[in-house]
Symmetry: C2
Subunit: 264 residues, 2 copies
Amino acid sequence: MQELLVVKIGGNIIDDEKQLNSFLSDFAAITTPKILVHGGGKLATQLSEQLGIKTNMVNGRRITDMETLRVVTMTYAGWINKSIVAKLQSLQCNAIGLSGADAQLIPAVKRPVIDIDYGFVGDISEDTVNTSFASMLLNNNITPVIAPISYSNNGELLNVNADTVASVIAIALSKTFKTTLLFGFEKAGVLKDVNDNNSVIHEINTQNAEALKADGSISAGMLPKIDNAFNALIKGVNQVYIAHASFIKPIAENKKGYGTRITC
Amino acid sequence: MQELLVVKIGGNIIDDEKQLNSFLSDFAAITTPKILVHGGGKLATQLSEQLGIKTNMVNGRRITDMETLRVVTMTYAGWINKSIVAKLQSLQCNAIGLSGADAQLIPAVKRPVIDIDYGFVGDISEDTVNTSFASMLLNNNITPVIAPISYSNNGELLNVNADTVASVIAIALSKTFKTTLLFGFEKAGVLKDVNDNNSVIHEINTQNAEALKADGSISAGMLPKIDNAFNALIKGVNQVYIAHASFIKPIAENKKGYGTRITC
C-alpha cells in the first residue's frame, strides 16, 4: 500500500508568515502523496471586524450567519487557499486548492436545529468523501490543499471544522493508502505543562488518555483533536500525530520522538 | 472530435441573482463537456469600498495593489467561485472551482512595467494552459468553473482578465475538442444601437468589423471582446458568440439567430 500524509495546519501557523513559508517548504519537499488541510487564522475575524459584522455566540459557540459565511468563504477558500497554492507552485509542488464543494469532494449536511441554530454550519462524514477524485489527483502527482468550506445538496455553502475535514479525508483514503494524519500546530505537541515546550507527552493512548484528561494535561481546546485522532485510528488511519508543524519531515520519515503520537 | 462549450459570464449576470440562477440551470443542463469562466461583478468594488480601498482603473483595467489583490482573490476565487460551484452541484452538475494557479491550469507572467505599473496583474497564453489536467476533468464529467486569478512562477497571485481566460482556455483545448466559445452577458448581442436589444448584429467578420468600429457600433468596451474573438477563431476555436447568457441553450444546439456570431 502506498503511503499518504494528511497534514492539517492551524491558525497560528497560517498567521505567521515566516512559520507558514518554512512549513510550506518542508511540505513541498515530501515526496509521498500528500494532502494539506488548513484552518482560517485571524484573517476572518479581522475582516469581520473591519466590515462591522457581529460575532454571534450562543452558549459559547459561534453562529455562522450569511454575512459570516461570506467572510469565511472569502478568506478560507479564497485568499488563504489560493495564496498557499501559489506558494506551493513556486516550490515545485503542483497543488490544487479545493473546498469540500469542488468535485463533490466532501459533501456536508447542514447541522439540524435542535436547541441552537448554528446557521450555515455543516457536518461531514468519511462515508461520502469522493475518494476516487482524491485518488485521481494523488495518482497524477497533484496535491490537494483543502479549505474547511463544504456544501449541502441544496446548493448552500457550509462552514465545516478543519480538524474534522483532515480526519474524515484521512479515514476515507485509508482504504487505499497507508495514511499518516498530522495535526500540525505551533507547539511541540500535547504538553504536560502548556507553557513548557519541553513537557511533550510523547504518546497518548486509550489507557493514559483518561488520566491526562483528569489531571488537566489534555485541556478543553485539545479534547476534540484527541477525539478526532482516536476516531481516525479506529477507522483505519495508520498513524496520528499532534505536533509542531515543523516536525513534518521527521514524522513523514517515521523518526521517533517528535510531537505526540496517538495510539489505540 | 468531441464538442466543448466554453462560456464566460460577466459581472452584470453575476450581480443579478435571478439571472445568475437561471443561467446556471441552463448551463447545468448542457450535456456536452463544458467550462464556465466568471468575472467579478460589483462585489469586489463594494468590498473595496467597505474596506476603504480605492479602486484605480486605467484603460478599463484595475490597478491591482496588494490590498486589491486580496479583495479580488477573496471575492472571485472565494465567494463567487464557490457559490457557483455549490449551486451547480445542487443542479446535478459536478463542478470544480479553480483559479489559474490550481494544478498549474493557467500560469501567468506578471505584466512588466512599461508606462503603467498595473501591479499584481498577469498576462496569460494558450501555450502554457495545462490541457492534460483540463481534459482529465472533462473526461471524468467534471465541469471546471474558473475564476480570473492566476499565479507567477515565483509564487505570487495575479489578477487576470476573465475574457482572456475564456479565450485562452478555449484555444488551448481546441486541439482536442471542437470548441464553441460564448461570451455571455446581459444584452442580446453586439447592438447597432446600444439601447435597443432588437438591433443585434448577427454576424461580425473581418470584412464588416472595421466599418462597425468606425460607425461606433463596436464601442470601446466591446473592442477587446471582438479582438479576443478573432484571435480565438484564428487559433483554432470552432465558433465564437457574443450573446445574452440566456441564449446558451440554442447556441449549444447550433440554432441560428441568437446573439452575435463572430466569423473570420
